[in-house]
Structure formats: structure tokens, C-alpha cells
């Protein structure tokens, strides 16, 4: 066996793949071949390291040097300097602030220091396309132990229950209880199913995708254990077709597990059979709702059905079905291997363990983070996320996607757990966390989420189909400058009707972004309604462009660029915008070299 002295880990998650990481891998391989070192240095493609904003990311071990935004032309230098001569290429190292000294240990950076990786434990550590590497990091020890010792299913379920793990898909129901209900449920012909919800539809969320791209085996192993625990022999993973890399890695992983006898008939000679099938979604947000997801797997329009009966009793193909989210499954083998006590020691009283968040929007370190429950929003936004870029002021954070709410700056010290978030009118959701700064208009954001819900409402129940549309009409009236104060009351009333009477979580939670912005940013709504003004300068119809006469040099550039001829004036004299003609495209402002055009 060859002795490998160095590993070059290149991230091949969607973010880094988009910044060309596959070409980096071939470049490294070519360069190593040229140096004659292909036998002693291995290039490994890994899952997400989390620092997507700085991609593509390359880590070189054993030194643990983390190179960011690596370009093709940097490859020869990394090989000749670092690999051949052992000199770290400091100019490419990840630096927290421009000008600061290069950090050598990634674990000490603010970005990683406050994190704790359980669900993401293997992401960026192993090659997700190799079952051997997964086994090398204690993969499949839990399944092997359970099957060889023939652990009683109730013991496994008790362990999950005692760990305090709650569903990571959004609602936060106790995972152990779900397993218990499905285990207890009677099936007339003995058939039960295990299913995995990988239909991550929240715009701005990519936690599940990163887990599946970086560590697909942990989900497969957990589903196999779940099958053993509840008495199912068939599993389904319902995944978005928009995630081609994750789909491919899952296909490879399922194939390898079958080859190793870890899926299929008579697993590890125990007599236990379990098979897995992938089902691709087709772009419907509502299919993330559990009953709609199952209707979709059955081959129909993905419309939800009323509960009860709950999936645990009557789910897929009317059989008892255990449905968990990707991240929930990713926690299972860790709990079984490390003990429920260890898991239950992390987090807050009612929310145990960690949660993965996809940080996005106006934040410096966009990427994937995993934090212990109870970490404050301030730590996430400022310490881990590095605050808002360009010195802008933090305004709000939005959690839970179209189902969640906006958290204002005054509540930034709220600990992140299921119950605290619900108490302030937002929700954990699946883990999207979008940061907004002073340039974002909160009425516009509420409108954005409603547009999404109007688009994605399946149309089965009236409150959601018509209610979301009417809400959007009212919000549009406000952003167009035609709103009245009574409209604000009507909006609130309609929101509560929607919450009370919609069939599924999509309609029930669609008003959350509106209600939370109304609660915390009422002054912005009032500015739109009473003063006909958008304080953030986003709502086009309320904007007014003006030329400051003192600053205007009369260069005529704005007048020549105006697409509707709304600007008049003579050469070397101050110009003037006819607000009646102006379509507020902003072209004049972006072209003015003297900063003479202001919008308000």
C-alpha cells in the first residue's frame, strides 16, 4: 500500500462547483503527475466546508491550510510551494479581515469557533462518493451493532426519544415520538414505509442539499436503522430535481451500499431486508408538506390531505409511514454512536442538539453553519456571519422562509431554539436565515414572500388559494402608494383567517412574514400609507428622483441616457427631471459622475 503523505481536499458542493472546483481537481491531478507525486499526494473531492462565499475552497492536510477563492492559475504555485517545498502559500489563506494576519487553524476563526458540527460532521471530511471513506469515519458501526446484537427496536426508539431530537424540517415535532407512533401502528398486511423529505423548497435554504452532497451515507444508514426500528423494508427519498449533484451522489451511494450488502436483502447476514428508492420532485414547494409529499410519491398532483389520519397511521399508499427530514436523519447515527446523554447535553431545555443554518442575504460570510441550539442571533449574524457587508446597518433576519417571520434588531439577542422563535412570531423552519440591511424594504420583503405563496399554493383549499392572493393585492396597493390605514387592519384580520382555516402548513404559515413585519416594522407600513414614501428606497412607484442643482455640472449625460426623455436642461446648466414622465429606472443616477442625482 502506498503511503499518502498529503491530502488536497477540494470542495465539490454546488456553491464551489459553480465557481469551477471540478476543473481545479483535474488541474491538481495534472500538476501532481508532472511533479511525479501522484502516488504520495491524494486529491479528494469533498462536501461543503460551509464558507461558500469564499469558494472555491481547497484544504491541504496534514497542515490544515485553508485556501479560499482558488483560481486555476494558483494550482501550480500550491503544488510547487506547499506540496513540494512545504511552504504554505500565505497569500491564498483564508483571512478573516483584509489586512489581518493569516490564520493558520481554521477551527480558531470566528466563523468556525462558535460552531459545532454534528449533522455536518462528515461534510468536507470525506469523499461523498466513497463508502470506504464513510466506513473509515465510523460509518455503519451503528447499523452493524444493531443488526448483529439484534437490539430490540424499542430500545433504539427510546434512545432517540431520550436524546430530545426534534424534527429539523420546521415544525419541530419529537422525532422519537414519531418513530414510536409508526412502530405502534398496525398495518393490515404488515407493510410500512420509511421516507425522507429532501424536498428543500424554502428559497434561500440549502442545508439538506449540503448534507446529501457531502455525506449521503449517514442519511442512508439512518433510514436503514429506522426501517429496522419501525419494521419497514422499503424506503423512499423524495428529493428536488433541482439538486442534480445531490441526486447523483445519492445514486452512487445507494449503488455502493447495495454492492457492500448494506442495502437490499439479508443485510449483514441478519435476515433484515431494506431497500431504498429515489423519487424526484418536480418543482412544487407544497410537496415539502408531509401529506403532499406522499401524494406526490404516489404519482398524483402534490396536494395535501387533511390530518388526522397522520402519516404514522396512514401515510404512503395508505400504510404507516415514518417521514423525517434529511438533517434529522443525519443526527441519528451520531446519537446512537455517542449516546443520547451526550446529545441531550447540548442545547436548551426543550431544544436539544444543533441546528444547521444556511446564511444568506446581506451578510459577509454567506454559507453553511451549524450551531448549538440556544446560540443567539447576534452570535450568528456578527461573530459567525461577520455582519452586513459594506458597513451597512443590520435591519432584520428572516428565518423559516415563506413560513417564517422577520426578526428585528431589537430582538437580536433571542436564543435560537424552536420555542423562542415561535414566541416572537417567526419559526425555526428548515434553516434558511436571510439577513437584511437598511436598504431592504420590509413591506417589499413581505410582498416577495406572499408572491411566492400565491405561486406555490396548490389551490386545493379556498383560504390559501384566494386568501394569499387577496393579501398580495392589499400589499401591492400599499407599495403602489394607494394604501389606506384601514387596509392595514384588513390585512391583519385576513392573516388570522388564513392561519385558522387553511388546510396545510403552507396556508397556515403564509401570513407569518406579513404579521411579523407589521408587528416590528409598522412604521415602514405607515410611511408607505400615510407619507406615500418608501424609507428604504425600494418601492419604485413611491420613489422620486431629483437633481441637486448645486452639484449638477450640466454634462447632459443623464438626459442622453434617459430612456423616456424625462430629463431636460441646457449644456453646462443644471438639469431637471420631469417626475410625471420618469419611470424610475435609476439609469440617470447610476450614470451621474457628480453624485448630483438623489432618490427619496
Amino acid at each position: 500500500m502506498n503511503h499518502i503523505r498529503s491530502h488536497i481536499m477540494v470542495c465539490t458542493g454546488t456553491g464551489c462547483t459553480s465557481s469551477d472546483s471540478p476543473r481545479l481537481i483535474s488541474a491538481f491531478e495534472e500538476e501532481l503527475l508532472r511533479a511525479g507525486m501522484e502516488q504520495e499526494v491524494r486529491v479528494v473531492k469533498t462536501g461543503c466546508f460551509g464558507l461558500c462565499a469564499m469558494g472555491p475552497i481547497v484544504m491541504v492536510f496534514p497542515e490544515g491550510a485553508c485556501y479560499t477563492q482558488v483560481k486555476l492559475e494558483d494550482v501550480p504555485e500550491i503544488v510547487s510551494e506547499h506540496i513540494v517545498k512545504g511552504r504554505i502559500v500565505t497569500r491564498l489563506l483564508h483571512k478573516e479581515d483584509a489586512g489581518a494576519d493569516a490564520v493558520t487553524s481554521l477551527a480558531e476563526t470566528n466563523f468556525y469557533k462558535n460552531q459545532m458540527r454534528i449533522a455536518l460532521r462528515n461534510c468536507g471530511v470525506i469523499n461523498p462518493e466513497s463508502i470506504d471513506e464513510y466506513i473509515g469515519v465510523d460509518g455503519y458501526t451503528a447499523l452493524e451493532r444493531i443488526l448483529t446484537e439484534q437490539t430490540p427496536p424499542q430500545e433504539i426508539i427510546d434512545c432517540i426519544k431520550k436524546s430530545g431530537l426534534r424534527g429539523r424540517g420546521g415544525a419541530g415535532f419529537s422525532t422519537g415520538m414519531k418513530w414510536q407512533f409508526t412502530y405502534d401502528a398496525k398495518s393490515d398486511d404488515g407493510v410500512k414505509f420509511v421516507a425522507c423529505n429532501a424536498d428543500e423548497g424554502d428559497p434561500g435554504a440549502f442545508m439538506d442539499r449540503s448534507v446529501l452532497e457531502g455525506d449521503p451515507f449517514s442519511v442512508i444508514e439512518a433510514m436503514t436503522i429506522a426501517g429496522y426500528a419501525i419494521g419497514a423494508h422499503q424506503g423512499y427519498i423524495y428529493i428536488r430535481a433541482e439538486y442534480p449533484i445531490a441526486v447523483k451522489r445519492l445514486e452512487i451511494a445507494i449503488g455502493q451500499a447495495k454492492d457492500y450488502g448494506l442495502l437490499g436483502k439479508d443485510i449483514l447476514g441478519s435476515g433484515f431486508d431494506f431497500d431504498l428508492e429515489l423519487r424526484l420532485g418536480a418543482g412544487a414547494f407544497v410537496c415539502g408538506e408531509e401529506t403532499a409529499l406522499m401524494t406526490s410519491i404516489e404519482g398524483h398532483r402534490g396536494e395535501p390531505r387533511p390530518r388526522p389520519p397522520f402519516p404514522a397511521n396512514k401515510g404512503l399508499f395508505a400504510k404507516p409511514t415514518l417521514l423525517n427530514n434529511v438533517e434529522t436523519y443525519a443526527n441519528i447515527t451520531w446519537i446512537l454512536n455517542n449516546g443520547w446523554e451526550k446529545f441531550a447535553a447540548i442545547g436548551t431545555e426543550k431544544s436539544k442538539g444543533t441546528k444547521v443554518f444556511a446564511l444568506g442575504g446581506k451578510i459577509t460570510n454567506t454559507g453553511l453553519v451549524e450551531i448549538p441550539m440556544g446560540t443567539t442571533l447576534r452570535t450568528i449574524v456578527y461573530d459567525i456571519g461577520g455582519g452586513c457587508p459594506n458597513g451597512k446597518k443590520f435591519k432584520a433576519a428572516q428565518t423559516g422562509g415563506p413560513s417564517g417571520g422577520c426578526i428585528p434588531e431589537s430582538l437580536i439577542d433571542t436564543p435560537i431554539d424552536y420555542d423562542s422563535l415561535t414566541a416572537i412570531g417567526s419559526m425555526m423552519g428548515s434553516g434558511g436565515l436571510i439577513v437584511m440591511d437598511e436598504d431592504n424594504c420590509m413591506v417589499d420583503i413581505a410582498k416577495f414572500f406572499l408572491e411566492f405563496c400565491v405561486d406555490e399554493s396548490c389551490g386545493k383549499c379556498t383560504p390559501c388559494r384566494i386568501g394569499t392572493k387577496r393579501l398580495l393585492d392589499l400589499l401591492t396597493k400599499i407599495t403602489d402608494g394607494n394604501g389606506t390605514l384601514e387596509d392595514l387592519d384588513t390585512i391583519e384580520e385576513l392573516c388570522y383567517h388564513l392561519k385558522d382555516s387553511s388546510l396545510c402548513a403552507l396556508g397556515q404559515s403564509a401570513p407569518n412574514p406579513v404579521l411579523s413585519t407589521l408587528k416590528y416594522f409598522k412604521d415602514e407600513y405607515i410611511a408607505h400609507v400615510v407619507e406615500k414614501r418608501c424609507p428604504a428606497g425600494v418601492c419604485k412607484k413611491l420613489l422620486k428622483y431629483e437633481i441637486v442643482a448645486d452639484k449638477c455640472k450640466g454634462c447632459t449625460l443623464c438626459a442622453r441616457n434617459c430612456p423616456v426623455g424625462a430629463i431636460s436642461g441646457v449644456v453646462k446648466g443644471p438639469h431637471f427631471i420631469d417626475t410625471e414622465k420618469c419611470i424610475k429606472c435609476g439609469l440617470c443616477q447610476s450614470n451621474c459622475r457628480f453624485g448630483a442625482i438623489v432618490k427619496h
Partner: protein, 167 residues
């Protein structure tokens, strides 16, 4: 509404139809076969015209209304043909707060088509999509399988020109 009966005449080849028949035969009798078969059909034909929906319905022995119901429910299925280069501008939250609306605007102006549309020469089709998961690079757009990140409206023109030159 982009998702209605298409005006473009059906141009399926016997080879394509044969491949679809094979897919149907593989899936027939399996529970929940409609979606996987329609996904394969869209891959074979590029879209799902009425003729293909009829073949699927007859092949799987289910009502055409059900096939149409499924095909028109999911945004991934298209009843219209797509361009040689399919552009999807992401309007997910992360992209939206970073100015994706301006990027979409620039594409619309440059190609003179609206989301859901196709240029008359069949080269470009445009869609506004929800999150493709590359939020770290926001705002992004995809042209076929290529992802373009950290976009601004003025970067759109040169990117599209590159494809126009190849078309």
C-alpha cells in the same frame, strides 16, 4: 400563462417514441409510476406535448386527465418546448435581496421575452426560478447547466453574447 397547450407542432421521432415505450414498459404496474415516466418523457422530448401525454396515459392505463393534472401541476414539467439555451434567473430570497430583479430585467430587455417565453428563433428560453441553492454566489442565473454567480445587470449582456455567438 406559460403552461397551456402549445402552438408548436409536434415533431417527435419514431426513435423518441420507442424510447418512451421502453420507459413505460419498465415502470408499468409500479406504484406511483406517473412522475418518473413523465420525468423520463420530458428528458426524451424536451417537453410534454399533448401527443406524449396521450402515449403515457394509454401506456400506463390511467386517464389522460390525470396525466395532464400532474404535468400541469409541477413547475418542472413544461408543456411548451424549451430553447437551445435555457436561462433560469434565480428569484430565491437570497438572490432577491441582492438584486436579482434587476438581473431578470436585464435578460428580459436583452432578449425581448418574458419569463416562460422563448425567442422566435428557438435559441433562448427564459424562466424565473426559485432557489437553485447557490445562495453563496447570489444573485445567480443558470444557462443550461452553467451557473453564473455574483451577477449585476451589466454582466448579463456579455454572457448572453457568448451564447449567441455559439448558436
Amino acid at each position: 400563462m406559460p403552461n397551456c397547450k402549445t402552438a408548436v407542432p409536434y415533431r417527435g421521432t419514431p426513435e423518441q417514441e420507442e424510447r418512451l415505450r421502453q420507459v413505460i414498459a419498465e415502470h408499468k404496474g409500479q406504484p406511483g409510476a406517473t412522475m418518473p415516466v413523465l420525468q423520463a418523457a420530458q428528458e426524451i422530448f424536451g417537453y410534454l406535448p399533448e401527443e406524449v401525454q396521450i402515449m403515457v396515459a394509454e401506456g400506463l392505463d390511467i386517464p389522460l386527465s390525470e396525466v395532464y393534472g400532474v404535468a400541469s401541476f409541477y413547475s418542472f414539467f413544461s408543456l411548451n418546448p424549451k430553447g437551445k439555451y435555457q436561462i433560469s434567473v434565480c428569484l430565491g430570497t437570497a438572490c432577491y435581496v441582492k438584486g436579482a430583479a434587476g438581473v431578470l430585467d436585464a435578460v428580459e430587455k436583452k432578449l425581448n421575452i418574458a419569463p416562460g417565453g422563448i425567442t422566435p428563433d428557438g435559441v433562448f428560453s427564459l424562466d424565473a426560478c426559485r432557489c437553485i441553492g447557490a445562495c453563496g454566489l447570489a444573485p445567480v442565473m443558470m444557462i443550461n447547466d452553467d451557473v453564473y454567480g455574483r451577477l449585476t445587470p451589466d454582466k448579463v449582456g456579455p454572457i448572453l453574447d457568448k451564447y449567441l455567438a455559439e448558436a
